[in-house]
């Protein structure tokens, strides 16, 4: 964890990280002077009736108080600077790693997001705490012990008895309570899950009259939660009375034993008072230290979660030679197999080739490997067997950048970014002209609704495109893929949410725009692919047939079935 912090603090931030605890030492030193000075006032000033001595020492105390403020304030500022800078660097790094990650089995987006946001914040708080608390409390503890020994060696054995007992006690209680808190957390999760299910499945619950069943289940879990939280809370309830008691006993012993010594004139009143004050300081510091250690262990979980993301970082080895952008836009898949070690292949021995300028249709049910095929072509993943070529050049020998320049994809999931429509449409080509945008929006039939918006292309898009309907988002999504005018266009089920009528209009426009340009259409609807030069039928990761519509009708039983079942497929437009 320390390494992670070091790696993400540079220059001023790193200086601050080390400087802050040192300055904190100053604050601790000032705080520790107070009881000693005070005991001197009582013993020397008071006893001798020396007013000058009292005032002089009071001024000294004031000076230490103000100095303490200065130290504390600087430490705080430096600490927050170091921690914030570290957080900034860490976030930036994490995002970069996640963006460059191209491994097939990777963390879910939701998990990644939590790690970049919450976990980094945890780390940030931790660094803040390290620079302040982790030095302050143990040093106050340590310094307090040293000072009390110096000022009153006769009473020091009291600390020697009380402190070890308290420390052992604290460790035992905290240790025993941790598993109980873990159990409580699990119970909390279960209750939350039942509640969430109940909201999401409200309709099903009503339909089957499961209310009683659900309530029984909840009652059981709720009681379990009550019991678990009670056990956890009760496990630590002993802490505060015992600490209180030990401290009070310490004070009593100090007064009783110290008093008897004072009566025989071995020590003074001032020493006793100072000692008691130190003891209070020490106990407080000890409680804080325990709190910090607990918080620290919580942050360790965060740091290991962050580390997991950092470990995804691949040393992007530059290919030995990067060939120039291929001229032609032909495509070739040679014996391509792709899958994970522990399950059957997702793509199995895929072979096909497509001439420059042809249209390719890919059809198959969900899970047949259609999207994986495109993921390999666009180099989302590199771990496959076989060769994929664009214009005769192995895509592994092209830079990622040129592969993505060559191919534009409209994905089925039509995510839009917050910004305006213009920003979204020029996402793949910031230099696009107004004419390009107009053309793309006409072809994708987005112009229909953009024209009706008061701000046209300047209309704001909310996060995830919430202010547009599913169909509108898909149309913008298609437009976005059209704007870069790439040599190869892939439509990955990109019209699944638009109505039949718009779908066929888009198809018509697209056929004109992409005449003699390499285009791949992936769809579940036969109508979308039936005019393609070549249609591939994918079943369970294998190509079971390929050819044009007429040929497939003869060759493929699966294709014929698909055509017959979809004959009834009439999507109601707004008639």
């Amino acid at each position: 964890m320390f390494q992670m912090v070091m790696k993400h603090t540079h220059g001023k931030a790193r200086w601050s990280f080390f400087l802050a605890p040192m300055i904190m030492l100053g604050e601790v030193f000032c705080d520790l002077q107070q009881p000693t000075l005070m005991s001197q006032i009582i013993d020397q000033g008071l006893a001798k009736g020396d007013l000058g001595f009292v005032i002089q020492h009071a001024v000294l105390m004031l000076m230490f108080a103000v100095l303490g403020l200065l130290f504390g304030r600087s430490c705080g500022a430096l600490g927050s600077y170091a921690s914030l800078k570290m957080g900034e660097a860490l976030r930036s790094h994490l995002l970069k790693v996640s963006l460059n990650d191209r491994q097939p089995k990777t963390l879910m987006p939701a998990t990644l997001i939590t790690r970049i946001t919450n976990d980094v914040t945890q780390m940030q708080n931790l660094v803040m705490m390290v620079t302040r608390g982790l030095v302050r409390s143990p040093m106050l503890l340590f310094g307090g012990i040293v000072m009390s020994i110096i000022i009153c060696p006769d009473l020091a054995p009291i600390l020697g008895i009380i402190m070890p007992i308290l420390i052992v006690f604290l460790i035992i209680v905290v240790r025993r309570s941790i598993p109980k808190y873990t159990q409580m957390q699990q119970s909390v999760d279960t209750v939350n899950r039942v509640m969430r299910e109940n909201l999401q499945g409200a309709k099903t619950i009503k339909a089957y009259f499961l209310e009683k069943h659900q309530l029984n289940q909840f009652t059981h879990q709720n009681q379990n939660l009550q019991q678990k939280s009670q056990t956890a809370a009760l496990a630590t309830v002993i802490l505060s009375p015992v600490i209180q008691l030990m401290l009070n006993f310490g004070v009593i012993i100090a007064i009783g034993y110290g008093g008897s010594l004072a009566i025989s004139n071995t020590i003074s009143d001032g020493q006793i008072i100072a000692f008691v004050n130190y003891m209070i300081q020490i106990t407080n510091a000890m409680i804080q230290t325990v709190n910090i250690i607990t918080a620290f262990s919580r942050a360790i979980t965060s740091s290991s979660r962050v580390q997991e993301v950092l470990d995804m970082e691949q040393n992007e080895e530059l290919p030995e030679f990067v060939e120039a952008m291929p001229e032609s836009s032909s495509l070739e898949f040679q014996n391509v197999t792709f899958g994970f070690a522990d399950s059957k292949p997702i793509l199995d021995q895929v072979n096909f080739s497509l001439k420059d300028g042809q249209w390719l249709g890919i059809i198959g049910e969900t899970g047949s490997g259609k999207s994986s095929l495109i993921n390999l072509l666009t180099r989302k993943y590199d771990e496959y067997q076989g060769t994929i070529k664009i214009g005769g050049i192995d895509i592994q020998k092209m830079s990622l950048k040129s592969v993505h320049q060559k191919i534009a994809v409209a994905l089925q999931d039509s995510l839009l970014f917050s910004g305006n429509i213009n920003y979204n449409l020029t996402y793949g080509n910031p230099a696009a002209t107004e004419g390009d945008l107009d053309q793309a929006s006409v072809v994708s039939r987005s112009s229909e609704f953009i024209d009706q918006l008061p701000n046209k292309f300047q209309t704001e898009v909310e996060q995830a495109g919430k202010n547009f309907s599913g169909g509108q988002r898909q149309r913008l999504n298609i437009a976005r893929a059209l704007v870069p005018k790439s040599d190869i266009l892939v439509m990955d089920d990109a019209t699944s949410a638009v109505d039949q009528e718009t779908n066929s209009q888009i198809k018509e426009h697209l056929e004109k725009l992409r005449q003699n340009k390499t285009t791949i259409i992936i769809s579940q609807r036969v109508t979308n692919v039936l005019d393609c030069d070549q249609i591939i039928v994918l079943e369970n990761g294998r190509i079971t047939a390929s050819g044009n519509h007429q040929e497939l009708l003869k060759q493929s039983k699966f294709y014929r079935e698909l055509v017959t079942t979809q004959m009834g497929d009439v999507n109601f437009g707004h008639a």
């Binding site: 009582i42 963006l99 109940n198 909201l199 015992v242 007064i255 004050n277 079942t565």
Partner: protein, 593 residues
């Protein structure tokens, strides 16, 4: 105690308008009914423990003045023993006081959660349509937690705080008015200063909060749109943009934090100054011989000071927290008070029905918007009725009225001649089984999920239902077969498989009336054949309503109703509708274009 429940919704709760807080407090008090005696005991214990602290601290000073300075060793030891005993008792009291309050708080929040959840089961469908799940969840979790914390900590702390402040204040005042003034002044200073800083930082924190919002939005968008960023060669631009927002956040956070980081050290300083003032002024007045100040008094004050500033600041914070908890309680009570779905006063028990269904002049409005107009239909037992029409025409709504999920505007819906609003809901919903486009599967095993259709079904019956639903084969192929635990939303199954399970659930329910609501819409064509066969089997001997957008599936229906804009615009069978040459015929022929 803080329960970490993952993302919290109201992290920065706005000050909530507390209308009628007396009523909320009164209601909380009612919840505590069985624990009132315990609460009173807790308060008595608190008074004892706090008094012990006050007296103990004073005794320390007395010891110095009366025994040590006067060389009375025997008396000194006696007093110390006395102190040890009262401290021991006080600690034991504290232990019991804390344990008791934990039990009370946990039991109370359990009871509140139970009441909220129980009422949630009774709420009408409309409530779930119109309320954000996140909001309801937040009431169930965060708000109940807040109440819990209030009971467990805030209450007792506030009480202890007030007793300590008053008790110590009085003791201090009697001992030395001047030194008391110093203590109070330092407390007031600390309070005023942190208030002042808080006002200053408020704006800085608001800026920080808004740039944090931007930052999080960017992270969310970039991570979820990762593939797009890569595909469109946007990585560099995205990172550049992110770095800008990231730096902006750091800057605003630094301003806010370094402003507020003054508070801690400043409080420390005021404490230290008060500390020195008490020592110095005490010493001066002893030397000068003014007043009754002794070394013991100084000693007592120094200890009091450490116990005085804390509680006063605490009390002010606690009042704030308490207000928030009251607001939470109010939000929770709102949910408990939400009007439940009720059976008609003299609802009829109807365990069996032939399955004759009739709609008589049914109209339905939602939010004052008329959705359905004058719907009439009659289905004889065993008939298949198909509803077709564009999305949003009102097909699903008609079926929701059949199960009495929403109140009618006009007209009647009858099963076997009985008005559905007069049938007990539990019976009605067993008579009509609905298979939705996406049925919800629960986080339990497959066996239990299917059994939900008929809670007292035997394992054998479940297997039979699965076999008839064509689901048995794929279930047995799963590593744990019927005992496979489904994760939330059953993501490990395909859409088609999930649908087969919900059909199995419908089989086992064996109800006379069946509604298939676009049950095959989102299924790939291969599984569709299985699902289609399963549904045909399911419809046997039942009055079935089929909502479909594929005309091929409904050609054999006894009646076809064409719905548009909330009205039945055509009705008949496949043949007669084709001959009529209307809307249906146009739709049917368009597929051959």
């Amino acid at each position: 105690m803080d329960m970490h429940r993952g993302p919290r919704r109201n992290i920065h709760p706005q000050k909530v308008a507390l209308n009628n807080w007396q009523a909320t407090v009164k209601r909380m008090w009612e919840y505590l009914e069985t624990y009132r005696l315990k609460l009173i005991i807790v308060f008595l214990l608190t008074i004892v423990t706090t008094s012990v602290t006050i007296i103990g601290n004073r005794m320390n000073g007395v010891v110095v003045d009366k025994y040590i300075d006067k060389n009375r060793l025997h008396a000194l030891i006696m007093v110390c023993l006395f102190l040890a005993i009262i401290y021991l008792i006080s600690s034991i009291f504290t232990y019991f006081q804390n344990s008791m309050i934990i039990k009370v708080a946990q039991a109370t929040s359990q009871k509140i959660r139970q009441d909220v959840f129980a009422n949630l089961q009774r709420l009408p469908m409309k409530y779930f349509d119109t309320h954000d799940n996140g909001d309801v969840m937040s009431r169930l979790t965060n708000d109940v937690d807040n109440i819990n914390t209030a009971l467990m900590q805030t209450f007792v702390q506030l009480f202890t705080g007030i007793i300590s402040v008053v008790g110590m204040g009085l003791a201090m005042l009697i001992l030395s008015p001047i030194l008391t003034l110093i203590a109070i002044l330092s407390t007031v200073m600390t309070y005023l200063f942190s208030r002042g800083i808080a006002k200053l930082t408020q704006k800085a924190f608001a800026t920080q909060q808004s740039s944090l919002g931007q930052l999080n939005t960017q992270i969310e968008e970039t991570v979820s749109g990762k593939q797009l960023v890569q595909l469109f060669n946007h990585t560099d631009a995205t990172l550049e943009n992110f770095d800008r927002v990231n730096a902006q956040y750091t800057k605003s956070a630094f301003i806010a934090q370094s402003l507020s980081s003054v508070i801690g050290p400043f409080n420390n300083m005021t404490n230290n100054i008060a500390y020195l003032l008490i020592t110095a002024i005490g010493a001066i007045s002893i030397i000068g011989g003014y007043g009754k100040i002794t070394v013991g008094v100084i000693f007592t004050f120094l200890i009091y000071l450490r116990n005085f500033t804390g509680p006063i600041n605490n009390v002010l914070n606690l009042i704030n927290t308490l207000q928030l908890s009251l607001a939470s309680a109010q939000r929770v009570f709102e949910l408990i008070d939400e009007g439940p779905e009720k059976d008609a006063p003299k609802a009829i028990t109807l365990k069996k029905a032939n399955g004759h269904v009739e709609f008589e002049h049914v109209s339905f409005a939602y939010d004052k918007r008329l959705i359905l107009k004058d719907i009439n239909l009659a289905a004889n037992p065993g008939e298949v009725v198909a509803l077709v029409g564009p999305t949003g025409a009102g097909k699903t709504t008609i079926m929701n009225l059949l199960t009495n999920l929403y109140p009618l505007e006009k007209g009647k819906v009858l099963i076997d001649g009985i008005d559905v609003t007069q049938i007990k809901r539990s019976d009605l919903r067993k008579l009509v089984t609905v298979v939705q486009q996406e049925s919800f599967l629960f986080n339990m095993n497959i066996l239990e999920n299917i059994r939900l259709g008929k809670p007292n079904a035997t394992d054998e019956e479940v297997y039979t239902a699965a076999i008839r639903a064509n689901a048995d084969k794929f279930i047995r192929q799963l590593p744990n077969g019927y005992l496979t635990e489904l994760s939330e939303n059953a993501t490990q199954l395909s859409q088609g498989q999930r649908q087969l399970l919900s059909i199995a659930r419908a089989f086992i329910a064996e109800s006379p009336v069946l509604v298939l609501d676009e049950a095959t819409a989102s299924i790939d064509s291969q599984t569709e054949v299985d699902v289609q066969k399963a549904m045909t089997a399911l419809m046997e001997k039942k009055t079935s309503f089929v909502i479909a957008h594929r005309l091929s599936t409904i050609q054999n229906a006894n009646q076809i109703l064409v719905i548009n804009h909330g009205e039945i615009i055509e009705r008949g069978n496949h043949q007669s509708l084709l001959e009529k040459g209307g809307f249906y015929a146009k739709l049917y022929n368009s597929q051959f274009d």
